[in-house]
Subunit: 454 residues, 2 copies
């Protein structure tokens, strides 16, 4: 991707590249991206969501104090006089700013945009988020994630759910001191990548937790299941005595009842090891994970991992409210970049030819000096709403024109030569079968439409 | 738009606003924007264009030396260690960088993206550009602009065309010294806003042009017309002796022949006063201008002006090429922000109610304790691909649910009460006519599809 032209030449000394961590999207990459976007947007629309957009940069102070240690990854703009600005780091904080500014408390919106992190090398782009206000609608979000992952045919997946209150209750009954909840939670968050032994040593060695407390946590975090696990934990002699855990388990039970009505419990796993990194979650959290592919077309196994996540965060909008009023929010973020690279790898492996245009007809001529005839015919097709192209050369060879159809996947060629012009017809060629039929000019548009019908 | 909450409160001292020159797009604004985008993208697709995307920032040196005096309007990123970066100022320079980097010389692509200028207050966003390589295809671009402006029903418009070579030839035969071509060209560029007298004083007073030369220019720049004007100028005793002007007029004549085949000469005006600001144009230039609206619905006349422009620039890609090879390019840029504000004002004036979602059915219940029934039914509709919503409250009142349909423009309500559940039916309500019919549950999806058919 990164050509370094001209570095050694006298005349132009700059390096020809995109900034570190960024890339261009050419027509092929864009075609894949648009296919994924289409599936995701249709799903949001099917669920009645509205769309919003916010600026790419925010006042620096809007982002200050929202990301903890990650703040060092924020891109700041240079002080060129005027306001101090930063590129948005996620869509959640600008959205919370939008809600507080417009005093909105009831919302169901999605937002598609790039976010900017001085990460190395992960440039997280194109995040989709959907936000709902109401508590029980976390079920609706899980349904959306389920539909999107099914529609995109990414392979088998599981959506893990947990609740910050259950985690905190669990930490309490295991004997973790209050002050260590967040840092022990971060250790638990590593369980999807690191085995329990290592996480345990971190808890005990680095974070100073007692070995007994760590072992008690170890027993809980290996649990995962469905409604029966929730019921069982509600009977757990220790956990059932903890107010937070009980609240969380009660809500989790209700959530599973809704998910049963949606018919998607098969892919949902209540998983006590799910912790999620970000600090701002306050209730239910979830994460969708792709399972190892067993796809015969894919030679190298596609890297698996989290492709969507979210949860409930009630405090963030309040940080922008002069009176600190809480606005309950639940949000989902779809990892479009990861989905995109899976689709890209899979497409490459399958050898499927991806179209980068939607052109239906190539207007072609078999002889020279027929540019005017092509221009006139293509104009008629465009005006009839037909997607048409011609080669941008004065006198292209017919073979070259037909090769172009094959290269670009254009299904039809409309050929006008001297004979066709004299006869008032157009030769319509099916590019795949190579069959050619003369069509009276006035019937051409109808015939093309008929042939393109699904 | 800019609420200033919390400025006087003790707890949260920040100002709640978007950065100067930026705005949020709420659901209503987005619905308008998407309507405009849809028309523009369909047109590009109809013409067989591919789409590309480049990063929002570039290496600072990529932008250096491309914009002349306007460089001061570029947003730089803060030096946080690593590469020096700037936000893109237009799409042309990143695109030229993309072409040079990938050694592409034959292209027909469009690019939709925001660009960033430290202008006051104009934040130019969402530019569409299309690029073609071949010379005669400037006609194709004018056809695209013609189709887009017609499709969007923005009112009457004219597309002015001229050629930098005709301008330069005209300056030469009027006695403008070579060194003053560009600065006199900038003066001519002001003629769409300022009367000739003022432009003339600027030329003579500020720029030191002889009054005779200025008067000769004055005669030429008032000329505008079609093929007959081109023919007449080709006979002009002075202009026809100038090599550059003759070349430009020859190409202009050819362009008008193509435009005649496209049937759009009625809206095209060859206008000798068109100069275009940017330095990088080298051949044909054009600009689409909306004419004064006479729309009874619009109380205040919508501000008129340029909504699209472009031209041929052959030198830019060469600036990135180690050997400085020229790549011929012609590009068009659609002023989506201006189009957007015209559509927004017009919509406001018309009182038309704009839908911000595409929801087809609201799933409603007339009694309490029927949340489960709603969840089950809505899930069936989603799975059948029907766009459905329900209110995110446990027990909403029926009246509230029906008002929501009216507010949001949802055409149908699917109502399940205790009686309907017992009878195995759903009450389907036409929101506009208030007519209600009981539909057997298993026939509901088909009935909804039938009613929603266009």
């Amino acid at each position: 991707m990164k050509a370094q032209l001209g570095a050694d030449e006298g005349k132009h000394k700059f390096v020809l590249k995109t900034p570190k961590g960024t890339r261009d999207f050419g027509p092929k990459e864009m075609a894949i991206r648009e296919r994924a976007f289409k599936a995701i947007i249709s799903c949001f629309k099917r669920h009645g969501a509205e769309v919003i957009d916010t600026p790419v940069f925010e006042l620096k102070e809007t982002l200050t104090g929202k990301y903890g240690e990650d703040s060092k990854l924020i891109y700041d703009l240079k002080d060129q006089g005027g306001e101090l600005l930063s590129l948005r780091y996620d869509l959640t904080v600008p959205f919370a700013r939008y809600l507080a500014m417009n005093k909105i408390t009831n919302i169901k919106r999605y937002h598609i945009a790039k976010v900017y992190r001085r990460d190395n090398p992960a440039m997280t782009r194109g995040r989709y988020r959907e936000f709902y206000q109401c508590d029980f609608d976390i079920a609706g979000q899980l349904k959306i994630v389920h539909e999107i992952l099914s529609d995109l045919q990414l392979g088998d997946f599981v959506i893990k759910v947990n609740d910050r209150r259950i985690l905190d209750g669990m930490f309490a009954v295991c004997g973790v001191p209050d002050s260590k909840f967040r840092t022990i939670c971060s250790s638990v968050d590593k369980l999807d990548k690191v085995p329990w032994d290592e996480v345990r040593s971190e808890m005990v060695g680095e974070k100073g937790l007692s070995p007994e407390a760590a072992d008690r946590i170890g027993e809980y975090v290996q649990l995962h299941g469905g409604l029966e696990l929730i019921e069982w934990l509600l009977q757990d002699p220790k956990l059932s005595q903890n107010k937070l855990a009980k609240e969380g388990l009660g809500d989790m039970k209700l959530l599973f009842e809704y998910l049963t009505l949606f018919g998607i419990t098969g892919k949902i796993s209540f998983d006590l090891s799910l912790a999620r990194g970000l600090d701002y979650y306050t209730g239910v959290i979830f994460e969708a994970v792709l399972l190892q592919q067993e796809n015969e077309h894919v030679e190298e196994p596609v890297s698996v991992g989290s492709v969507a996540g979210g949860g409930r965060y009630d405090g963030l909008v309040g940080m922008f409210d002069p009176k600190g009023r809480k606005v309950p929010c639940v949000g989902v973020s779809i990892g479009i970049e990861r989905i995109f690279s899976i689709l890209e790898q899979r497409l490459e492996a399958s050898g499927e030819k991806l179209r980068t245009t939607e052109t239906q007809v190539l207007v072609a001529t078999p002889q020279k000096h027929l540019l005017a005839a092509r221009l006139k015919l293509i104009s008629e097709l465009w005006d009839a709403g037909i997607k048409a192209e011609m080669l941008y050369k004065k006198d292209p060879k017919l073979l070259k024109q037909l090769h172009y159809c094959e290269d670009m996947g254009i299904p039809l060629a409309a050929i006008v030569g001297e004979q066709e012009l004299a006869d008032g017809v157009v030769k319509l060629r099916d590019v795949a079968t190579r069959e050619e039929v003369d069509i009276p000019r006035e019937k051409l548009v109808d015939e093309i439409r008929r042939r393109l019908e699904p």
